[in-house]
């Protein structure tokens, strides 16, 4: 028997307008359970600028400001400064897609990290510009199909490693999470809440319509991403202390890839390449994380 330790408090209402099977809707529900109502959300152009609901509706029970693409970390810094002037406390949370975090808002995020702004920056990463209809972002994985990286010439470049980039900024806390591990996700939000400075939470957010998989597989695909080793669950404190939260079962990477239409054109060579990247990432992680010294990395089994 498994006992879940998830708060019953609901700060997100049903009736939001996410696509069926959207991981970012579920992620918000978990996040707000951990963060509670003393939270202010900042949302740029992304799926969540639609999901929350059109004027005058909102599906969350906390204040939410929709702001221009590329400005969230700065806008949130302004909220934090104002709260300080008013002597008020609240979690200031940016909730954005990979377009904001990896691309257009990257500079702003870097600036806020350098200034040690006391905000929680959450990227629900669906690996592309899904709200505009599945275009490539710098978070799109290598060889993936999108509408701007057609199957004849799929994405040629590696995905940016967001957590490592911000670990290099020496932020106090950076972590990855998925909806397949809700307790882990909630724990990470609860932790982020207690730490001062910029916290980054990178959520892999499977997107049924963009990744081309049936909408009942979101949690399964999230789990496969972790169990194949493609998306490690880990935390980094001050760019130094690495903690891996889950050792993968080292399932074959094909189990993850073949469930998604965006990878349907991949050859055995492409899968081999994926395995090599996973292995490289884990070797790096093992080197950085003392607790991992003895674990075998079994990507090529």
């Amino acid at each position: 028997m498994k006992i879940f330790n998830i708060p019953e408090e609901e700060n997100m209402n049903p009736g939001h307008v996410a696509c069926p099977g959207c991981a970012s809707a579920l992620s918000m529900r978990f996040a707000l359970k951990a963060l509670g109502r003393e939270t202010i959300l900042v949302v740029p152009a992304c799926c969540w600028s639609v999901i929350d609901g059109p004027f005058p509706y909102s599906s969350v029970k906390v204040p939410l400001f929709h702001i221009a693409f590329g400005t969230t970390a700065a806008f949130a810094s302004g909220i934090r400064a104002a709260l300080k002037m008013k002597n008020k406390k609240a979690n200031v949370v940016v909730w954005c897609g990979d377009g904001e975090a990896f691309d257009i808002g990257f500079q702003t995020l870097s600036g806020a990290a350098e200034r040690k702004e006391d905000i929680i920056f959450v990227c629900y990463d669906n690996e592309g510009y899904m709200n505009t209809g599945i275009q490539r972002s710098s978070a799109t994985p290598i060889r993936a199909w999108t509408t701007t990286t057609p199957k004849k010439y799929p994405k040629q470049e590696l995905k940016k490693d967001l957590v490592e980039i911000f670990a290099a900024h020496k932020i106090p806390y950076a972590a990855t999470a998925t909806v397949a591990f809700p307790e882990d996700m909630i724990r990470k939000f609860s932790r982020a809440k207690e730490i001062r400075g910029l916290k980054l939470i990178h959520i892999l957010s499977p997107c049924p319509s963009g990744w081309k998989f049936p909408e009942n597989l979101t949690v399964k695909i999230s789990r496969l991403a972790v169990e194949t080793g493609i998306f490690p669950l880990y935390e980094v404190e001050y760019g130094e202390k690495y903690t891996v939260n889950h050792i993968p079962k080292w399932l074959p990477v094909e189990e993850y890839l073949k469930k998604q239409g965006r990878f349907s054109h991949l050859t055995e060579k492409d899968c081999q390449e994926k395995r090599a990247y996973i292995e490289k990432k884990w070797l790096e992680l093992r080197e950085k994380s003392k607790s991992l010294e003895k674990i075998p990395i079994l990507v090529n089994n």
Binding site: I40, P54, F55, Y57, T71, S77, I79, A82, L83, R115
Partner: protein
């Protein structure tokens, strides 16, 4: 207390006396000194505010917007390229009805690189929904920043205070710095009707479909219309307390004038000198300084210009493919009301001097011609 202040420091004192609570900016010549001064004042504890050094002008405005949306008074300053970089957020600030104040130190747009003055930077932001006030002196810069917060917070629109780069920003003038106590009486603390508040959660700026978007824009224009009376009332009350009156427009010897010179910014000071000289020789020249460019007080412009025989607009700016921006604005104000020739001079782009002699010669040209020879009268350009 009287102090010798540059326009930049006058702007800083304006923000200090207004008790700006969150200040954010990015360095750009010729604006930089405004925020240098403010950061010093915050560091020395002379101003209770959060000062945030950001990595771009866009972020500077975003910080101020976040602060304003949380219900505190925010201030930023910029110039030219920085203002252009803020462009998208200028729309957002006004659309979100955030009453913050921005000082723009007018500088010509690159390329080629320039730090000298013209007004193309702020005038090309005219359709963003910001109130725009153009200053003629450093005293007016300081006074206008204080007035700007009151206007902005009453009608919930942002205000841009514009001053000519170098000519005001880096020139010292004697400025009467008002007493804090009096400013506090004039400008009460900012208390917004709604803001980011966890005890009363709202979503701001959500997806706005056609059945409602239009009405938001109608309301923004209504606010702009209301701003005219607010600017006048604020200017008058400022005069009652501080002895210096301000309005939408600034008329100089317009009564009985045959030619009205219309301009904005520091060239108006030069015009005053030239007009005095010309009128001593028996001419009847007056000037209409456009202090408030947005909202454009069209009715008052008309009232002021009724009776003159010719209008002479001096633009330190240009709308490429048309003509001077103020020229175009004045013409639109006259439509079907006054059928008189408008002489549209373009002068001083990129900080080239416009001297009293230049103005005298422009007036002489206007006196000698029934109509302008060309749509644009380029002044002093080497062809």
């Amino acid at each position: 207390m009287k102090k010798l202040l540059t326009g930049n420091y006058a702007a800083s004192y304006g923000a200090i006396l207004s008790r700006a609570e969150v200040i954010s900016a990015y360095p750009i010549t010729p604006q930089t000194q405004i925020v240098e001064k403010l950061s010093t004042m915050v560091a020395e504890g002379k101003l209770s505010a959060e000062f945030i050094n950001v990595e771009s002008e866009r972020s500077a405005l975003a910080v101020c917007m976040g602060a304003s949306a949380t219900g505190v008074r925010a201030f930023t300053a910029t110039s030219a390229q920085g203002l252009a970089l803020m462009h998208e957020l200028l729309h957002w600030t006004a659309g979100a009805r955030l009453p913050l104040v921005l000082v723009n130190v007018n500088r010509a747009m690159a390329p080629g690189w320039t730090v000298w003055c013209d007004e193309n930077d702020s005038l090309s932001q005219r359709d963003t929904g910001w109130i725009q006030i153009y200053c003629e002196s450093n005293q007016e810069v300081l006074d206008s920043v204080i007035q700007a917060y009151r206007i902005a917070e009453r009608i919930m629109l942002p205000v841009m205070i514009c001053m000519d780069g170098i000519f005001l920003s880096h020139t010292q003038e004697i400025v009467d710095v008002p007493e804090q106590e009096k400013v506090d009486r004039f400008l009460p603390p900012y208390k917004p009707p709604v803001f980011l508040d966890t005890s009363s959660p709202h979503a701001f700026g959500s997806l706005t479909p056609p059945p409602v978007y239009f009405e938001f824009r109608y309301k923004l224009q209504q606010a702009m219309d209301e701003a005219q009376a607010e600017i006048e009332e604020t200017g008058k009350e400022f005069g009652n307390i501080f002895g210096r009156n301000y309005g939408l427009l600034d008329e100089y010897l317009l009564n009985g004038a045959e030619i009205a010179v219309v301009a904005l910014g520091t060239v108006c000071g030069t015009c005053r000198v030239a007009i005095d000289r010309l009128n001593k020789k028996g001419n009847k020249i007056g000037m209409l300084r456009i202090r408030t460019f947005r909202p454009l007080p069209k009715k008052k412009v008309l009232e002021d210009l009724r009776g003159v025989k010719k209008i002479m607009v001096i633009d330190r700016n240009i709308s490429y493919g048309h003509h001077g921006i103020l020229h175009q604005e004045i013409k639109s104000a006259l439509y079907r009301e006054l059928n008189i020739p408008v002489f549209g001079f373009i002068a001083g782009l990129g900080g080239r001097d416009i001297t009293p002699e230049d103005i005298e010669q422009m007036v002489n040209y206007t006196l000698k011609h029934e109509e302008p020879d060309t749509d644009i009268l380029w002044w002093g350009v080497n062809r």
